[in-house]
Amino acid sequence: MAENQSDANGSLKTYDDHVPEIKFTKLFINGEFVDSVKGRTLETVDPRNGQVTARVAEGDKEDVDLAVEAARQAFDHGPWPRMPGYQRGRIMSKFAVLIEENIDELAALDTINGGKLFSFSKAMEIPYAVTSLRYYAGAADKIHGEVLKMSRDLHGYTLREPIGVVGHIIPWNGPATMFMMKVAPALAAGCTMVVKPAEQTPLSALFYAHLAKKAGVPDGVINVVNGFGPTAGAAISGHMDIDMVSFTGSTEVGRIVMQAAATSNLKQVSLELGGKSPIMVFDDADLDSATDLALTGILVNKGEVCVAGSRVYVQERIYEEFEKKIVAKAKAWSVGDPFDPNVRQGPQASKEQFEKILSYIEHGKREGATLLTGGAPLGTKGYYIQPTIFTNVTEDNVIVKDEIFGPVMSLMKFKTTEEVIKRANDTRYGLAAGILTKNIDLVNTVSRSIRAGTIWINCYLAFDNDCPFGGYKMSGFGKDYGLDALHKYLHVKSVVTPIYNSPWL
């Protein structure tokens, strides 16, 4: 336990003076902060200590109805879908600047809400979310349909039109990333939206909504309804007046969202769900960088990442040395208060998550897996867990099958390329995969063989705004990022008319 602590005195050092004043705790509907209809509130908890940080308005069906009404009005009659894309882009650019100006406060909100490393949020995650906003701002005036090659005397063309009112249901693991990944392309497309942030992390979403209004996003275009999945979330996915629901979260909840869409108005659905992504390390890989990549692949954001490299396959010739190195590095990995700039891992986001991860660890032990390091909570308060590595497991073990969403790696040995391809694909998920080798033929073979939406070769977590992201199989469908994400929020309308006496066809 002691290896991972930033403070050797049994309890972790805290940085309470970094906690910001919380300005926005209501729902954001039609450009105004309002209480929920029933007047109910929910508690947000600081995962560093389990204490309540704020009471936030708790939205339910009635509140979703009001938000949808505002979004509907803004879409059907408001200026947003009617202004030129350039103008939408200018407003989005201004929104980006306002986020940059408030970055400390936004980062701190995600730390006290999600246990995220303050320095990571400030230097990486939020700046990256800002680049997403600028990327889509620059795409808003580049939405092209096509003029078609018709096989008769017809003139045909396609229009890409905004899909309408979008419901975004976003998770708690990356409040800034997820908010912007959904909201930015939908804004560029000219949609209006109702955003439901996770009940664990509503604070920064409310702040973003406030900044969007300040930047000039018209009222009703972005509405934020805090609340729980079974109430507010279900009201969104089952709403008859929402044209599309875009969900990021667990595979189980994704299934419920899709069912609700099917039983209501057949709204379009985009799902970005769980994963159990393999990282394959071939025997020519550089061990130092491979162990770094694999360790970061699972421990980034305390393992609370859908693309976490939770299954690490190492070719047998280098396996033993790899194991030795990665275990040593895991023991040296610093865990502690996420406001501490030297800490690399904060607490899990919630008590529920904390307990779920620990139960998986216990399950692994019971199943006979070998615990190489970690395997226990850290400190006496808050939701800290040691970086944990299991070995001697196969694809039949529950900890290799299930998405744990915590700092728990399954380390496995393989002999041949054919074998590792087969085992890597032996999962119901297909979100991402890592390949570590310098052999070009191997890279080409494996990258086409893996049934996953993103393949990172000699890198991992290499996200980019221009690079579409989304799953195969039960990791979901529909892409976030890139122009694919923009197109997700656009309908294609075909327009056809006869032509007479055309000199060419």
């Binding site: 080409n444 063989s449 122009l483 032509i499």
Partner: protein, 540 residues
């Protein structure tokens, strides 16, 4: 050619991108008789003392490798105020030696410098900063433009500068969205295309829209990661130097954009035939375009984009809204003193509305306000220089001699500077010189037609193919004309709509390639196909 806001107000009254300033400008333009301080050409006898431009010329040297420098020879040339013919400033005169220096700087910046190597997002942010700076210095840049070119200040400040900013922002947004393809293979191969910057781009721009042409050229070239040597027109060197200074203030590294002021036969020819320039883009006359293409062929076979002259038809069908057609036909021809490559210089009017149209076109031209372009409410300033001025007057004489009816105008305006009266000819025939040649001045030629087939044949009977206007309420007629006209742009019930995303360029001898829109990116990109065998692929 730069009149999106202007014409959108004329043609799309619900346009949401209009500024109140442009609206004010328009209302004056449409009802000039109501403007107290506006003298129409028929009532003003002389141009008064020219107004003070309110700006000073701070940059008159060449811009090479991030610095203002004198020309190698030390030579300068005067740039003139078209209102008076007087010298504004003496500008460093670039020649072959200066082109060599600029190309060397651009080469180094491309081969070794940070510009093509930084992330596209960083390039985009620098371009966005440039756009902000242009916006901040809007009025000074517009004043320089008017002083050097003679175009109405309100047009430069309220229409052109915002369009320039718009184009730069548009291409900033492309920088991080330049996509190659992964390509299907016939066998076990992995195929992809990389879209790489083409290298050092040579760009030669004209005098009619100096800064707008600068933006059309520089915007896409920069977004793609190229470096640039740009030669401005000898008539209008000033605004580009100022803008380039702002570009560097925004963070463009030295050597990425070099600007050479100078003449075509010396600086222009050296650029077009340079062995180390990878790409050439030229906007100007068809005759010079031929020379540029030939020099490229004779030197290193650099690919060439040409945006050249035009004699664009403006076709008014019998069912058209005549008042609107008259106003837009007037605008299509007279905008920017008629100095537009896409000017609607052949106005074909259906016989059923011909007489009404001619009467109204004449009336509209008669009330066009001509005068000092710095004066508020002025629609038309002087022509660019004495050469153009004389050439236009020669064409007007040729029109009269060939038997066309001079409805109004036909003379110089005032006694000083290069002002010409708005001139309208009717009864123009296709074989008259004024119907064949690009006049590039305020001379409208109105021709009569009977049926659609005839007007298609006549409209296409030209060596040019830049643009066309089509006025009709019938969509079948519109569709037929749209497809039948051999031109790069067809404006249906509008004219001179120049959004950043709309590609622009010519058929036939109006040029090669397209500028603006996504299409312009391909002018500045090389395509590299990458092929590698696949061993045991899961699929093909």
């Amino acid at each position: 050619m730069a009149a999106r806001l202007f014409s959108s107000l004329l043609s799309r009254s619900s346009s949401s991108s209009s500024s109140s300033a442009a609206r004010a400008l328009l209302s004056r333009a449409r009802k000039p008789l109501l403007g107290r301080d506006i003298k129409t050409y028929s009532t003003a006898v002389a141009i008064e003392e020219p107004l003070n431009p309110g700006v000073t010329v701070n940059y008159s040297q060449l811009f090479i490798n991030g610095q203002f420098v004198d020309s190698a020879s030390g030579k300068t040339f005067p740039t003139f105020d078209p209102r008076t013919g007087e010298v504004i400033a003496h500008v460093a005169e670039g020649e072959a030696e200066d082109i060599n220096r600029a190309v060397a700087a651009a080469r180094k910046a491309f081969d070794e410098g940070p510009w093509p190597r930084m992330t596209a997002y960083e390039r985009a942010k620098i371009m966005l900063r440039f756009a902000d700076l242009l916006e901040k210095h809007n009025d000074e840049l517009a004043a320089l433009e008017t002083w050097d070119n003679g175009k109405p200040y309100e047009q430069a400040a309220k229409i052109e500068l915002p369009m320039i900013v718009r184009v730069i922002r548009y291409y900033a947004g492309w920088a991080d969205k330049i996509h190659g393809l992964t390509v299907p293979a016939d066998g076990q191969y992995h195929l992809q295309t990389l879209h790489e910057p083409i290298g050092v781009a040579g760009q030669i721009i004209p005098w009619n829209f100096p800064l707008l042409m600068y933006a059309w050229k520089v915007g896409p070239a920069l977004a793609c990661g190229n470096t640039i040597v740009l030669k401005t027109a000898e008539q209008t060197p000033l605004s580009a130097l100022y803008a380039t200074k702002l570009l560097h203030e925004a963070g463009v590294p030295p050597g990425v954009v070099n600007v050479i002021s100078g003449f075509g036969p010396t600086a222009g020819a050296a650029l077009a035939s340079h062995m180390d320039v990878d790409k050439l883009a030229f906007t100007g006359s068809t005759n010079t375009g031929k020379i540029v293409l030939e020099l490229a062929a004779r030197s290193n076979l650099k690919p060439v984009t040409l945006e050249l002259g035009g004699k664009s038809p403006f076709i008014v069908c019998g069912d058209a809204d005549v008042d609107k057609a008259v106003e837009l036909a007037h605008f299509a021809l007279f905008f920017n003193q008629g100095q537009c490559c896409c000017a609607g210089s052949r106005t074909y009017v259906h016989e059923s509305v011909y007489d009404e149209f001619v009467e109204k076109a004449k009336a509209r031209a008669t009330i066009r306000s001509v005068g000092d372009p710095f004066k508020s409410g002025i629609e038309q300033g002087p022509q660019i220089d004495s050469e153009q001025f004389e050439k236009i007057l020669r064409y007007i004489r040729a029109g009269v001699e060939s038997g066309a009816t001079l409805e109004t105008g036909g003379e110089r305006f005032g006694t000083k500077g290069h002002y010409i009266q708005p001139t309208v000819f009717s009864n123009v025939e296709d074989d008259m010189l004024i119907a064949k040649d690009e006049i590039f001045g305020p001379v409208q030629s109105i021709l009569k037609f009977k049926d659609l087939k005839e007007v298609i044949q006549r409209a296409n009977n030209t060596r040019y193919g830049l643009a066309a206007g089509v006025f009709t309420q019938n969509m079948d007629t519109a569709n037929t004309l749209t497809r039948a006209l051999r031109v790069g742009t067809v404006w249906v019930n509008c004219f001179d709509i120049f959004d950043a995303a709309i590609p622009f360029g010519g058929y036939k001898m109006s040029g090669q390639g397209r500028e603006k829109g996504i299409y312009s990116l391909s002018n500045y990109l090389q395509v590299k196909a990458v092929v590698t065998p696949l061993k045991n692929p899961a699929w093909l």
